[in-house]
């Protein structure tokens, strides 16, 4: 083992850090349900379907993912059949994604209610695209936007190099 390497405990999130993480299966399930509701809204042109979805987005965004009805449904009906979560994701980006959804959902609802149908359909269509992308590929557009935002914020507020916090997690023998 060479002198320049240090071996430390694996850099996995501690249970305390994990407290803010949500079950990945729950977010995927919520994305599927969101897609179905948005498709129903677009096909029927019913503003109240879109309003309901917007309310769900709002709960997740403002009160946390655990208050989201879709998350509750997952925990009540599906999680017991699947067993404990094996993969989790951090909540802040997912919550921000719900906020983005809330914005588009609100525009869609107002658009359909006020007769600006094209505006409403475009907003609902974009929300559907993001939800469907998350449901089918696991790619969360809102999360990526959140990360982009934190990077820009970090760059503008404290652009400095911080002390190294790295772990060499596996070193070779006899090198």
């Amino acid at each position: 083992m060479s002198a320049d390497t240090t071996v430390s405990a694996p850099h996995r999130p501690s249970p305390a850090q994990r407290a803010g993480w949500v079950d990945l299966r729950a977010t995927r399930f919520a994305a599927w349900l969101t897609s179905v509701v948005l498709i129903a809204g677009l096909l029927t042109g019913n503003a109240w379907v879109l309003a309901a979805q917007t309310a769900v987005f709002g709960l997740g965004a403002f009160l946390g993912m655990r208050t989201s009805p879709y998350g509750r449904l997952f925990r009540a009906l599906i999680a017991p059949r699947l067993g404990p979560a094996t993969r989790r994701e951090p909540e802040p980006p997912a919550r921000f994604a719900q906020l983005v959804g809330f914005g588009f959902g609100a525009v869609a609802t107002i658009g359909y209610l006020s007769g600006a149908t094209v505006l409403g359909a475009v907003a609902a269509g974009l929300a559907l695209a993001a939800a469907l992308l998350n449901a089918t590929t696991g790619f969360c557009l809102g999360c990526e936007l959140y990360l982009l935002g934190t990077r820009i914020r970090a760059r503008t507020t404290h652009d400095r190099s911080t002390p190294a916090r790295t772990t060499v997690v596996r070193t070779s023998e006899g090198v």
Binding site: S2, D4, T5, P10, H11, R12, P13, L24, I39, G41, L42, L43, T44, G45, R87, R88, E89, P90, P92, P93, T117, V118, A121, V122, A124, G125, L126, L128, A129, L132, L133, T136, T137, F139, C143, E144, Y146, L147, T150, R151, A154, R155, D159, S161, T162, A164, R165, T166, T167, V168, V169, R170, T171, S172, E173, V175
Partner: protein
């Protein structure tokens, strides 16, 4: 066709395009510098040979081959990606895995064009990037890159 149906179809097309694009790119391990023609199967020529990562202030080896995984506080798949890399590196006992939190090295991350976590680098024996990829690394491509790294003397 109603406005809603049109928007629905447009959304489906959009999702298909973005999904396929991501599926094709995600986790690809590409050569950062030109590779010999016989090694062309590993990846394509991408950019100039970059600076040694240690020169950017990153705490990585500058005198030996290594694999560097850039992680972040909100990286959901980094633990899995790391497990995969560790499994691959079990076949390359001379090559260590180093994890760097990209959010703590923002200017270096910018120089290296790291936009996502995990981003994985295979460094040559001078600590310069030889191969790189973002997203969950493709195991076969990572193995091929490491075999090349060990062959290059």
């Amino acid at each position: 066709m109603t406005t809603g149906t049109t928007a629905l179809l447009a959304a489906l097309v959009l999702v298909s395009i973005v999904g396929i694009w991501r599926w094709r790119r995600d986790g690809r391990i590409r050569a950062v510098r030109p590779v010999a023609a016989s090694d062309a199967g590993v990846g394509t020529y991408e950019t100039e040979l970059g600076p040694a990562l240690a020169d950017l202030g990153l705490p990585v080896p500058a005198d030996r081959r290594s694999v560097v995984q850039f992680t972040g506080p909100y990286c959901a798949i980094c633990p899995q990606s790391r497990t995969l890399i560790e499994r691959v590196l079990a076949d390359h006992p001379g090559i260590p895995l180093v994890e760097v939190d990209a959010s703590e090295h923002l200017s270096a991350a910018e120089v290296l064009g790291i936009r996502r976590t995990p981003t994985v680098f295979v460094l040559d024996d001078a600590g310069r990037p030889a191969h790189r990829g973002s997203g969950m690394p493709r195991e076969d491509e990572l193995r091929a890159a490491l075999t090349l790294a060990e062959r290059a003397r």
